[in-house]
Amino acid sequence: MDQFVPSRNSVSQPVSRGLRFLAGSSALAVLLGLAAFAGPQEKKDAPEAKPSAPAAPAELAGSDTCQPCHEDIFKSFSKNPHHVVETKGKRGFQGKACESCHGPGSTHAESADAKDIVSFKSLNPAEADRICLNCHRNQPTMVGRVFGSHARNQIPCTSCHGIHSDKTFEPRGPLAQPIPFTETVRTRASVQGRAPRRMAAINNQCSSCHTSTYAEFQRPHKHPLNEAGVSCTDCHNPHGSFLPGDQKTFAANEPGCFKCHSNFRGPFTFEHAPVRFESCSTCHEPHGSANPKMLNRHEVMFTCLECHSNIGAQTQRGTVGGIPPAFHDLRSPRYRQCTICHVKIHGSHVSKDFLR
């Protein structure tokens, strides 16, 4: 087996990339410096995270003060994991858990005015997230955050996570899942539990915003999402991933598709380029298609020939996919479904033409 020799190009590229990163980092350092001079440094630890806390000299009143008016929340919160903030002193809010997120509440307790307390309804998403991330930023789920589309698009944590709920899961009942055995018609998702964990609930939650993706799952050829066989989070990581589309990973850095379809993982003696260089979606519509096998074209031959139409190895504008080596007569129906003979199209251990 010959050894992989890095090309000159692949050695030099990281240098220029490093320069880009250095330039970006320097620019950030300058901005940070300016910001530091522009205003006083915020105090560290939790109180800093109340950017919208009322300016009035409110003081911490304690959770007991909140309880009489917010009895129901108080009760459910006592069974929520966040209740540890109330009972343990390590976070600095023992007996004041409500105010660890909502800020000092003494003024609000007197006025009963929503403007006198940090209300998540009035915060912008970044401010809301910042409060959550005060405790949760240094956790493994946050590793992909800088790549995640939710973070970039201002989708706050509270869109999917219930903060006060005492329920491990969403409520069980006809309205929670109107059709008990199918999700063809779903409910409107809402944050009912700490986080949805049942597949049906996860799918409801995601599709409440991603309605067009949900519509794709109404097509005949699809993954069994409506049947609660899989969930959105089986393939996607809502907190972000370095792979495109917030795709989950398998075995550290391989695409998550191989978790279920591990027979396509390889390594194969002969790899099919798109499986490695792009993704399954080069040929498939994983959310649903009108075409068999979730293909992106109505006939297999078009899926293949749209790439395999470059004359010669050095291809048009440098793309991969030479002309097919065999001059099959496509007027004969038996040649129109290429994978009838090229059976190992995802990669073959034996045949460079993927025949076995």
């Binding site: 560290k44 998540f120 018609v185 279920c260």
Partner: protein, 700 residues
């Protein structure tokens, strides 16, 4: 016996509503209402807030055991039309089922666990069995086990070679097509298989800072199918027994501190593929006309795969917050899967060696080799808050893999003249792939409710592939294909939330790609995404969603012109908190147009590939609650998909449902659904069927 059981169960279910209404009337559940009303999460859809928990009791957490189970019986008519297409798309069968269960058990003493949750569904013969167990003991452990057994049945007659007389299970179907115990006719590239997946994950909490974790996963695919045995451009569909499995083990430790976190993980996988393709009876193949006066045929064949694979992988994740406004994230990921290749093949019959125009009647093939594919990935990024209004997110990804493989192939052809031709060859492939992506975003809160985002993404990559024969110097001497990727993408976005009632999120990408890997990849493209939501009144919520992609590759010989648009519009109406009437409906309109040049292989002329997909999708459910003593509920609606274009298809699933709370903890329901599928160009593959489900929902 099974039929008798079904009858008894059915009788019970049908009589249940008659016998049980005499019991306690449903009682409003204060706790459920309180919880709903009190829910303060700002992003929650207000329609839900007003919605009472209806007749279902909320899980009573004061009771050690709470939960719900749905069970009943499904009746299926037909299906009329193509049964195997029905099984490929719907595949729901008849008989008693446990549709859904969800239990929670709490142990106040906390000896073994604080809470244990078990949920799943589709048991009793349905194709998607699921089970999940979650146990938790605070500050001691968290345990998750997930099990799924998913049926994958795929026999779409339109996917077979229509020239074969037995292609559609017609009169010409021979014995090799009748493979399943039920006598189901299968055809080329068909599967009657199962995916079985288990995933166990255990986290321990010896201290708050140090969290060891362990995980074991096992995924397997097994079953039977039909796949063509290919010999010199002739295909012989024969039985395929699939059996592969992957075991994955991983463990590591998380170090969680206030200002930083580090995860170290090490794992390994073992893979085995024992697929067999075999036939023991005569098979005429797809050539029905003699060649050089002889008829080709397959007498028997065996392809035996014995692939063994293993891999190691490592993961290092870290996050840090050195300053209050700066979060740094990074990953180092490495995996190195390897495969040992052992393959043997033998076949008897009458075959032709086309390039020599000679007939042979026995073939044997032996292949041994190995392949390895190390892959190294790294990411680093940060999110910085600069002042109160300005944020910067910068992230970079490096990803690199190469695959090196070698196999030794020995092929023996036994000719009719008792001569033998032995061919030894060494073949190999070298694949290299380098990928880099960086993205910089700046977000600015113009006002409290309006955020603008702008950014830039740069992607570059390089790919090479050299499959072919190994030369005497050890180099691969054939088919070097290489490509580069370079893409500059401008990014923009906006979020507007003037109040809790209105949200608008917009995202735009535009690029003039310099180079791309494949002809159909993103090149010069514009992508737009809009998501909006407006709570018009307390009971009326409107949503809209737009996805648009325009991608052009004007290179000579490619001339790729792609445009897709997806628009959805939703109306959710819950007057009076949904106590009497609820309407949830969505409509999606999608259009896709793709034109690209391709080369017609038989004459090397250029042609255009046109693909069109113009689809309408609607989903709706209306629920009517009769405000009477027992509050029965009537629901109707369904899902409707209609597509025109290159593959005109319709798939309708209307439904109606009736639910009666017989008791506070017992509901009776019955549902009718209809499935109708039509593929205009392959009319014979359509089907229609009615499903009637009747069952009970039991609350604990």
């Amino acid at each position: 016996m099974r039929g008798a059981m079904k009858s008894i169960l059915t009788l019970f279910l049908l009589l249940a509503p008659v016998a049980l209404p005499a019991q306690d009337p449903p009682k409003p559940v204060e706790e459920a209402k309180q919880t709903q009303e009190a829910k303060p999460a700002p992003e929650t859809k207000p329609t839900e807030e007003a919605k009472p928990a209806a007749d279902a009791p909320a899980p009573d957490l004061e009771r050690p055991l709470s939960g719900v189970v749905d069970f009943g019986n499904r009746f299926v008519t037909g299906p009329s039309g193509h049964r195997n297409t029905y099984r490929s798309i719907v595949n729901l069968g008849e008989g008693p089922r446990v549709f859904n269960f969800d239990f929670g058990l709490q142990d106040p003493t906390g000896r073994l666990f604080d809470d244990l949750n078990v949920f799943g569904g589709n048991w009793g013969g349905d194709p998607y069995n699921t089970l999940r167990v979650i146990a938790n003991k605070q500050r001691v452990y968290r345990f998750t086990a997930d099990y799924r057994n998913l049926t994958y049945f795929d026999f779409l007659p339109s996917f077979a070679n229509p020239n074969r007389p037995d292609s559609f299970g017609g009169a010409g179907a021979n014995a090799v097509s009748r493979l399943t115990p039920e006598g189901t006719l299968l055809n080329q590239r068909s599967y009657d298989t199962h995916f079985r997946m288990s995933d166990i994950y255990l986290e321990l909490f010896p201290t708050r800072r140090i969290v060891p974790f362990f995980s074991y996963q096992r995924n397997s695919w097994f079953g039977s199918g039909v796949t063509p045995f290919v010999a010199q451009s002739t295909e012989y569909p024969i039985r395929n027994d699939l059996q592969d499995s992957t075991d994955l083990y991983r463990g590591g430790v998380r170090l969680q501190f206030d200002r930083w976190h580090l995860t170290l993980e090490q794992g390994a996988t073992k893979f085995r593929d024992d697929q067999r393709v075999f036939s023991t009876e005569a098979n005429p193949g797809n050539r029905t006309v003699p060649i050089l006066g002889q008829t080709l045929r397959l007498a028997d064949a065996l392809q035996s795969y014995a692939m063994r694979g293993e891999s190691i992988f490592s993961r290092i994740n870290f996050t840090a917050s050195p300053y209050s406004g700066l979060n740094v994230h990074g990953q180092f990921l490495f995996s190195q899967p390897e495969t040992d290749v052992h393959y043997s093949e033998s076949a008897n019959g009458n075959f032709i060696l086309l390039n020599a125009a000679r007939f042979y009647n026995r073939l044997s093939l032996g292949v041994n080799g190995e392949a390895a594919r190390p892959r190294t990935s790294g990411t680093i990024g940060y999110e910085a808050h600069i002042g109160r209004r300005f944020r910067v997110i910068q992230a970079m990804v490096w990803d690199r893999l190469h695959n090196a493989s070698d196999i030794a192939v020995t092929e023996r052809l036994f000719f009719a003249s008792s001569t033998e031709q032995v061919t030894n060859s060494f073949q190999a492939d070298r694949v290299e792939w380098n990928y880099y992506r960086s993205q910089n975003d700046a977000l600015f809160d113009v006002t409290k409710s309006f955020t603008l985002r702008g950014g830039y993404r740069y992607i570059s990559g390089r790919a090479r592939s050299r499959p072919g024969d190994l030369g005497s110097t050890g180099d691969v001497v054939r088919n070097l294909e290489q490509s580069k990727l370079e893409r500059h993408v401008g990014l923009a976005g906006a979020t507007y939330r003037p109040n809790a009632k209105f949200t608008l999120n917009a995202e735009l990408e535009a690029s003039n790609g310099v180079r791309t890997f494949f002809r159909t990849s993103l090149q010069d493209y514009t992508r737009l995404r809009l998501i909006g939501r407006y709570q018009l009144t307390g009971s009326l919520l409107l949503t809209g969603n737009l996805r648009f992609l325009d991608n052009q590759n004007p290179a000579p010989g490619v001339d790729y012109d792609f445009r897709s648009r997806y628009q959805t519009f939703g109306v959710y109406w819950t007057p009076k908190g949904g106590k009497v009437f609820t309407l949830l409906t969505e409509y999606a309109r999608s259009t896709l147009r793709s034109d690209i040049s391709y080369i017609v292989p038989q004459e090397l002329s250029r042609a255009r590939s046109f693909y069109r997909d113009n689809a309408h999708t609607a989903t709706a459910v209306a629920e009517l609650a009769i405000p009477r003593k027992f509050s029965p509920r009537l629901s109707f609606g369904g899902s409707f998909f209609l597509s025109n274009g290159s593959r005109p298809t319709s798939f309708y699933q209307p439904l109606g449902r009736f639910l009666i709370p017989l008791h506070r903890r017992l509901h009776y329901y019955t549902e009718w659904r209809w499935f109708g599928y039509d593929d205009q160009f392959y009319g014979y593959s359509g089907f229609r069927t009615h499903h009637i489900v009747t069952g009970l929902r039991l609350f604990m």
